[in-house]
């Protein structure tokens, strides 16, 4: 069955079963490998993308839910403007956040969604919002500092 979805401002047609999680459609049908598989049950946040600007776990979102082209899906690949990184990505580089880097697409997508919602979240709000994204390398303190720097206007 052919499904139309809008990803990073481009309409795409994919012949995927409707119950396929959006994660696998992005990765295996559309070749957008930046969105990662971590747990498959919405526990780790590695697969976080934006659906109409909100952070969603693509591993538990059936592709049928975003079918039709009304919902706008944004992935890590859609964040930078050509060679110009998004301010949150800039802050991530500036603070040397990534170690293995596997969870960072999801971390960044969550952070961008948070900062789109509220420009100046306090520590508690950052803690609350970011605690759905696991990192085994232990980059949380740097993630926190990077978000703070953007929230305080120091990220770009």
């Amino acid at each position: 069955m052919t499904i139309t979805i809008r990803v990073n401002d481009t309409e795409q047609s994919v012949a995927a079963p409707g119950d396929t999680p959006l994660l696998w459609v992005l990765r295996d049908w559309l070749g957008l490998k930046g969105t990662k598989f971590g747990c498959g049950i919405g526990q780790c946040g590695a697969c976080t993308v934006h659906i109409d600007g909100e952070a969603k776990r693509s591993c538990i979102t059936p592709v049928s839910k975003v079918a039709g082209g009304d919902a706008a899906v944004t992935t890590i690949e859609g964040l930078a403007d050509g060679d110009d990184l998004h301010p949150v990505q800039e802050a991530w580089v500036e603070h040397n956040v990534p170690q293995c880097g596997y969870c960072q697409s999801g971390q960044i997508m969550s952070a961008v969604a948070l900062l789109n919602q509220e420009t100046n979240p306090d520590d508690e709000r950052i803690n609350e919002f970011m605690s759905g994204n696991l990192c085994r390398c232990g980059t949380y303190p740097r993630i926190h500092a990077a978000i703070r720097s953007v929230a305080d206007g120091g990220g770009s």
Binding site: D28, Q43, C44, N96, Y102, N127, C137
Partner: protein, 740 residues
């Protein structure tokens, strides 16, 4: 697929001029002295370097990148003595090759926090030799003495300060020069990059989603596979009914492999959901059905029955303990732990006209090659291993079962196959950090430890690791002798043929405290649970046990735990220094809010001295860690911010084990943990404030990936003792229990 198109396909990372490009380009046969270049007109003077007129410097990185920073750190080493800025060097991951063997292990292993330590001389010398030859070549062109020339970021400079030659312009001449035997490395006061480079070269690729991990490998016509593995350790496949599965959409094949039943489908999701419909009969007659409790019962029995092998003995601890009344005894339990790398295990393989190609996020490409040979029937020389970025390693990717599985499936199918383990597969079929039992007896005399007896009980990791490690050292051996080589490896452990397995005792035999009668012993007991290396290996449990017992002795002696340790470190100035530094930075002894306490621990591992002070409380019935102060002495630093990152990560890895790490089975031998909802990792909101203090000295560079982990566990336990007055003698720690 042609080599060119494959190269395009597997180029990794950001592109564009000046940007780092990480590729899985085969640099050709790795001979120590020069090799065939991968592109026409290029010069490949050694196993690590290739310079092309149009491509610049390509560095073959022989230690994999799993977050610990080899892409940046080792590239910085070659950059320093070749004199090319690290960001102007293209990095490719090494194939299997003799030149890339880690001399510490005799295998092409990335582990043991050894990458900087083993590369410090050999990679810098490789860069320095090439620079010397480029200088000599430029001297011929300029008709000037070599001594009058200098270099700067890829150019040789004429003494007139105007003329210069790019390295790429000198390749023809350079290729005819003889490599100098002796080279001088750049002096520390002249370093341009070592100690100064603080950015990560892979950061941009990792914040844009462009970094390519094993799970991201994509091949034309690729199929996806999942494997149904035994539900209990050691169960064997009897039969399976795939009639229903074969009717499901997208399913291509169902086939038996050594480890279970593989489902191959057009997409991963179809393969994964189809697997649930398989009806499989397993023979559990030889299955290993254990629980955490049964394993520790077995260890206690073994420890009662056998004093074990003496691993270190000074004076006569047994007699000294028998002759005194003031003996403190304590027993500690460290459980099995899963690695839980964020990237689940995976691998991709493809049969080609010449053999088998495998792409794998692996810490041991040579062992991966043996693993692939074992199950595909191809000989190691006809197998090519491509290494990718690793989404975490922590020792997990030293064991190669995912390569064995994918090689079996792809060779049977004859088409490209990517195997992906689900998170449930990854946790339930992990090779665990071994559970270990520690028994101590200690005696005090005039406030000093007069006798120390530490009995470590548990398995040896090499018994489980020899399977692919031993044959990897004999890649020419036929596959039929692999098991013989593995058994020989195990039997010759601790002889001239096979190094001693220190995994049970490291961190125990090297206890730094001065004690006149000291005995450290190991009682071997293996419960049949597959085990492996886990970040900091033996130090992870010995650090916990030794540093908790030290705290208990300090308490018994009625002395401050920092002072008590210092009193036993008269001969260990670097231990002393980090401990004093950490205590000072943490405000040791300063008043704390009600309900909060500090705990301290000191542990040297992988050459690096680390002291930590943890501040913790029990709030609303849960353990809370407010702050960790960490002082570390790792000698010279290549990249100080990566050192900091590794210590931060190591601490949180240790705290995760202390707070949550546990693996257990039900009475039928089924593992209880399966995913992150019940194998818990620390989250963002639980993260303490981390204060890392780095000692500045000119000592030889040491490991940083693992040493942050061991002291975090006992430092937290010792802090909790300060809060509750109860000892935490087993991990994970419990807010509501402990021993009085």
């Amino acid at each position: 697929m042609s080599d060119v198109s494959r190269r395009e396909l597997f180029r990794l990372g950001a592109t564009g001029s000046g940007a780092l490009v990480l590729g899985m380009v085969l640099p050709g046969c790795a001979a120590p002295r020069g090799r065939e270049p991968s592109t026409a007109g290029a010069w490949a003077p050694n196993a690590w370097l290739e310079i092309a007129p149009d491509r610049g410097v390509v560095f073959t990185l022989d230690r994999v990148e799993m977050g610990q920073g080899t892409v940046t750190g080792i590239t910085t080493l070659v950059a320093e003595d070749l004199d090319v800025a690290p960001e102007n060097i293209e990095v490719v991951f090494a194939p299997v090759g003799d030149a890339y063997i880690n001399p510490q292990y005799g295998l092409q292993v990335t582990g043991g926090s050894s990458s900087v330590r083993i590369s410090w001389d050999r990679v810098r010398e490789a860069g320095a030799r090439v620079r010397a030859v480029l200088l000599a070549s430029a001297a011929e062109v300029f008709q000037k003495p070599v001594d009058s020339l200098t270099t700067n970021d890829g150019y040789v400079l004429h003494p007139d300060g105007i003329q210069r030659l790019a390295y790429g312009e000198l390749l023809g001449l350079a290729a005819r020069q003889t490599m100098p035997e002796e080279v001088t490395l750049r002096r520390p006061e002249d370093y341009r990059y070592i100690g100064r480079q603080n950015q990560r070269l892979d950061a941009r690729a990792k914040v844009t989603g462009q970094a390519r991990f094993g799970i991201d490998v994509e091949l034309d016509g690729m199929r996806y596979a999942v494997v149904a593995r035994p539900p209990v350790i050691g169960a064997r496949l009897v039969s399976f009914d795939d009639a229903k599965v074969r009717q499901l959409p997208g399913v291509i094949d169902v086939l038996a492999i050594e480890r279970g039943v593989a489902v191959v489908a057009e997409s991963y999701w179809q393969a994964l959901t189809a697997r649930d419909e398989l009806a499989i009969e397993w023979d559990e007659s030889d299955a290993v059905k254990v629980t955490r409790d049964s394993v520790f019962r077995q260890y206690r029995q073994a420890a009662d029955d056998s004093a074990g092998d003496t691993e270190r003995s000074e004076g006569n601890a047994a007699r000294a303990l028998a002759e005194t009344d003031n003996v403190l005894e304590a027993e500690y339990e460290a459980p099995f732990l899963a690695h839980a790398t964020m990237e689940p295990q995976n691998a991709t393989a493809m049969v080609t006209a010449n053999g088998l190609e495998v792409w794998a996020p692996t810490q041991g490409p040579d062992m991966a090659r043996i693993a692939a040979a074992r199950t595909s029937g191809y000989s190691p020389e006809s197998i090519t291993i491509h290494t990718t970025f690793l989404g975490g390693g922590f020792g997990r990717r030293l064991t190669q079962e995912y390569v064995e599985e994918v090689a079996a499936i792809a060779s049977q199918r004859g088409e490209p196959v990517k195997l992906v383990w689900s998170r449930e597969d990854d946790i339930q079929h992990d090779v665990f950090r071994p559970a270990m039992l520690h028994r101590f007896r200690g005696a005090l005399s005039n406030g000093r430890i007069s006798a120390w007896d530490h009995q470590v009980t548990g398995p040896l990791i090499f018994d489980w690791f020899a399977r692919n490690a031993a044959p990897a050292q004999y890649p020419w051996a036929p596959q039929m002798v692999y098991s013989t080589l593995a058994s020989m490896g195990r039997m010759t452990e601790d002889t001239f043929l096979t190094p001693k397995d220190r995994s049970a005792i490291e961190g125990a035999v090297d206890v730094p405290y001065t004690v006149p009668d000291l005995w450290v012993r190991h009682t071997h007991s293996d419960a049949g649970v597959p085990v492996s290396y886990w970040r900091s290996v033996g130090h992870s449990h010995n650090g916990f046990a030794v540093e908790t017992f030290m705290d208990e002795l300090a308490h018994r002696a009625g002395e401050d735990p920092v002072q008590f340790r210092l009193r036993h470190l008269a001969d260990s100035p670097r231990h002393q220094a980090v401990l004093e530094r950490a205590a000072e930075a943490a405000g040791w002894g300063d008043p704390l809010p009600e309900g909060r306490a500090r705990g301290v621990a000191l542990h040297r591992s992988f050459g690096t001295y680390v002291a930590q002070v943890v501040e913790a409380s029990i709030t609303d019935g849960a353990i809370r860690v407010q702050r960790v102060t960490c002082a570390a002495d790792c000698g010279q630093m290549v990249n100080p911010d990566i050192v900091r990152m590794q210590l931060e990560g190591g601490i949180l890895f240790g705290l995760t084990a202390a707070l949550y790490g546990d693996v257990d089975w039900d009475d039928d031998g089924r593992l209880k943990q399966s995913n992150f909802h019940n194998y818990t990792l620390m989250r963002h909101d639980e993260t303490p404030e981390l204060n890392i203090v780095l000692m500045d000295n000119a000592e030889a560079p040491q490991g940083v990936g693992e040493p942050g982990t061991p002291p975090a566990i006992p430092a937290l336990g010792n802090a909790l003792f300060g809060v509750t007055g109860k000892r935490q003698r087993r991990t994970p720690f419990r807010a509501d229990s402990g021993d009085a």
